[in-house]
């Protein structure tokens, strides 16, 4: 059963890209798709479409075999909640502390403000050197700490799918190995991953399938 399925999708161009025309894509448990492309914008657009942040001109989006009507953004919220998205346009909420940002989703869905960080998240915070900055707001942090916090937030939301855009640029090189270990632990539990990376080591470690985006056409290879 595919976790995400895009059927007859067409995406209008963003930035300097060509857009993507009439493609279908299925993502199953255990898949590790790496993207090769002639246009970074098209790769980013495809990743945004996977997480439903880009709406198609036409096509059908299915999550866990359920068809999602993307004409109303609210229908896609339960899917978004289950996708980890680490990309250049991911952000923290600037008027909340790091702790509140990390607990934001749980505060809302568990309807309590008395929650504390679970052991896994606290462990990631220690590993990414964020633990002593939990009470600070994003504006008081170094840009790299902001990216590290976003990484922790996405990894700790127990996603069904992980979507990564150039993780080697997003994550501090001194912490990249920690990040790879965390992703490896998740992929060993058959978590599907789709990523665009120019890091050969990362691609070799997590890719078992390949996607090619060229001149607005998407092709997948096993």
């Amino acid at each position: 059963m595919p976790v995400i399925e895009l059927i007859d999708y067409t995406l209008k161009p963003e930035g300097a890209g060509n857009g993507l025309t009439e493609f279908s894509f299925s993502l199953f448990s255990g898949d590790g798709y790496s993207i090769e492309t002639d246009s970074i914008d098209d790769a980013a657009l495809f990743l945004k479409a996977l997480v439903t942040l880009a709406s198609p001109r036409k096509g059908t989006y299915c999550f866990n075999e359920m068809k999602i009507d993307l004409s109303d953004y609210r229908n896609a919220l339960p899917c978004k909640q289950r996708i980890g998205y680490i990309a250049s346009d991911a952000a923290l909420i600037s008027n909340r502390t790091v702790r509140e940002n990390l607990l934001f989703m749980r505060y809302f869905h568990e309807d309590s403000l008395l929650l504390t960080l679970d052991d896994h998240t606290a462990d990631l915070c220690r590993k990414f050197d964020i633990f002593d900055k939990l009470e600070r707001r994003p504006g008081e942090l170094h840009p790299q700490d902001i990216k590290n916090t976003i990484t922790i937030r996405e990894l700790s939301k127990h996603p069904d799918v992980l979507v990564l855009e150039r993780p080697e640029d997003f994550i501090d090189h001194t912490k990249f190995r920690i990040f790879m270990e965390a992703v490896r632990a998740m992929t060993q539990r058959n978590l599907p991953v789709v990523f665009y990376s120019s890091d050969a080591d990362f691609t070799k470690s997590f890719s078992n399938k390949k996607l090619t985006i060229s001149k607005g056409r998407l092709t997948s290879f096993s």
Partner: protein, 258 residues
């Protein structure tokens, strides 16, 4: 020539679209009020209280001096030209019915509406709204509802404070610093004020709160926002909010007093 025609055409289409889009936005916010899912209530409550704190409590240092100045100025000016009975009536007419609601709305527009519009604009530009969506949370519910409740409740509270400070404080200032004879001002106000005056003030405050919030959120949530568009949008919000409050003020006054 073509460029000019295109520019005029785009501006016209934008102006024509504005009202239906605003009405659609109002409809979606009204729907949020009546749709009450079980999740997120604690967070909404916290955000509403934060909004009340910012809009009402932190505005006290502005509204109290303004109310004192306006109240005392009115008493000084009208004490010279009116009889004692008229002074109480004039205070009710001007402060409780007209100046109170409008000045309160103006202060909220200057402090809060502009701030909210900038905040939401920045959230839009820096993908923070997408971050909220990625947490599976409806940004409209999380950002609009607490602001709507908070700003409306805050305007109501500020209006009561403005009226009390303008009348009592203004009287005290005149009594302490001048020799103008204003005997039994409170008795005159009590005789002049009616239940309708209080009701109308509250209705105005509620409608001002609603219109101010809706306008600043509507502009903040406009799609394809650019960072360079935020200052222009903020000034547009301030003007539109003030104009809408004046229109509401006139309509309510005509409905109740004409």
């Amino acid at each position: 020539m073509n460029q000019l025609a295109g520019h005029i055409g785009r501006r016209t289409l934008a102006a024509v679209d504005h009202l239906p889009n605003l009405l659609a936005f109002i409809y979606s916010i009204l729907k949020l009020i009546f749709h009450r899912p079980a999740t997120g209530r604690a967070m909404l409550k916290k955000f509403t209280l934060e909004q009340i704190f910012f809009t009402a409590y932190q505005a006290l240092y502005v509204i109290i001096p303004v109310a004192l100045l306006i109240g005392s100025m009115l008493i000084i000016q009208f004490a010279k030209v009116s009889t004692q009975y008229d002074l109480g009536k004039i205070m009710v007419l001007l402060i409780v019915r007209e100046i109170g609601p409008i000045v309160t709305a103006l202060i909220v527009i200057l402090r809060t509406a502009t701030a909210v519009s900038i905040e939401i604009g920045y959230m839009q530009v820096f993908h923070e709204i997408e971050a909220i969506e990625m947490a599976g949370i409806d940004p409209l519910r999380l950002l609009c509802l607490p602001r709507l409740m908070g700003i409306t409740a805050a305007i109501l509270c500020l209006l009561v404070i403005f009226n009390l400070v303008a009348v009592i404080g203004g009287y005290l200032i005149v009594w302490i610093f001048t020799y103008i004879p204003i005997k039994n001002l409170f008795g005159q106000i009590e005789a002049a004020i009616t239940f309708t005056d209080i009701l109308v003030g509250n209705i105005k405050a509620l409608l001002f709160g609603f219109s101010i919030t809706v306008i600043c959120l509507y502009h903040g949530f406009k799609p394809n926002m650019k960072i360079t568009g935020i200052p222009a949008q903020t000034s547009k919000v301030a003007v539109e909010c003030f104009f809408s409050c004046l229109v509401i003020d006139v309509i309510i006054s005509v409905l109740f007093y004409l």
